[in-house]
């Protein structure tokens, strides 16, 4: 079988699974069940397994819209963006964006941000462990190097700014079934950091300046630039923000050092 033929068969098989395309069935032999029926079993299994995985990751979304509605969203997502990795906990990165533009969700404008929150909690659970450093790691630098330092933050960290009260929505929907509380959307939005703390996913709400500070650091800006961005966003206490970073295990080192170390590990000497 030539390379081109194999690629075509694989492509047909993928299309059969994702879109119900029938070309692949013609290549399969009947064996007890007709080929098309056997392919359908495979297809059902694919959608069922991936939907279950998405349901676990986006548990709050599922609780909000119900299993059937969720399964419909999942079906649209799976066909549009099938997994690129065998690890199902990584699956779902584009789900919030699909919700944001899906007509069936138009009456639920907060739903995409709830999905982003769920995915951030999922990342907080599953991101690799990196040992945190304390502020004494920064204290070794002279003042100029400190202002120019680019800090590396824990890979479990997500920053999320929403117009909706995500924490209240999350909390209300993680109570026992039947005991969900009502949420007033007009209570206003919030800025959240979501990360892993002592082995548990955790979040806290941040003041605008603290959020801007973390966002700037996460975008790769140096400490001086991040402090300026924070000051421009509201009252800012740099000392308190630094102790937050270190006290919550957010700070893991310096970006340059991390880049250098990973290039050594990867044998990438450039």
């Amino acid at each position: 079988m030539s390379q081109g033929t194999l690629a075509r068969i694989q492509d047909e098989f993928a299309r059969a699974l994702l879109f119900g395309d029938e070309a692949a069935a013609a290549r399969l032999v009947d064996d007890g069940l007709p080929a098309a029926a056997r392919l359908q079993i495979h297809r059902n299994h694919l959608f069922h397994s991936l939907t279950q995985a998405l349901m676990q990751t986006f548990a709050t979304v599922e609780r909000l819209v119900g299993e059937r509605f969720f399964a419909g969203l999942a079906r649209a997502y799976i066909a549009e963006q099938p997994p690129r990795s065998p690890c199902l906990f990584e699956y779902g990165e584009g789900f919030a964006d699909l919700i944001a533009r899906h007509p069936a969700c138009a009456a639920l404008p907060y739903l995409a941000d709830v999905a982003r929150f769920d995915f951030a909690v999922n990342l907080a659970w599953n991101a690799p462990d990196r040992p945190a450093i304390g502020l004494d790691g920064l204290a070794r630098l002279d003042a100029e190097s400190l202002a120019g330092a680019r800090l590396a933050l824990t890979p479990s960290l997500s920053l999320l700014h929403s117009d909706y009260p995500l924490a209240a929505i999350w909390r209300a929907n993680h109570r026992p079934r039947g005991e969900e509380e009502g949420v007033d959307l007009d209570a206003g939005g919030g800025r959240f950091m979501i990360w892993r703390l002592e082995g548990e996913a955790a979040w806290r709400e941040l003041a605008p300046a603290d959020f801007a500070f973390l966002q700037s650091l996460a975008d790769g800006h140096c400490l001086g630039e991040a402090a300026e961005a924070a000051g421009a966003s509201g009252p800012f206490d740099l000392a308190a923000a630094l102790s937050l970073l270190a006290g919550q295990g957010i700070l893991i080192g310096f970006r340059n050092a991390v880049a250098r170390m990973s290039s050594v590990i990867n044998g990438d000497v450039s």
Partner: protein, 83 residues
Amino acid sequence: MKTNAVMIASALAAALALAGTASAQEAKTEKCYGIVKAGKNDCQTATSSCAGTAKRDGQKDAWLAVPAGTCAKIVGASLTPGK
């Protein structure tokens, strides 16, 4: 006000001095319980390779009707179209 290197260094010094008292802030942190962590760390198969057969593929559009979960409990003016 320009943030300069000296200000950052003195903020760090202040933060180091604060280190012992920082735990008071942690009260605002919330931890997420009740999340299913297991079962997604590899290619998941449902209980058998035919587990999916029970789920028939006949509901492609029917779901579009109405969400049936707790979203009825989310209320507010932000829900009105055009937000």
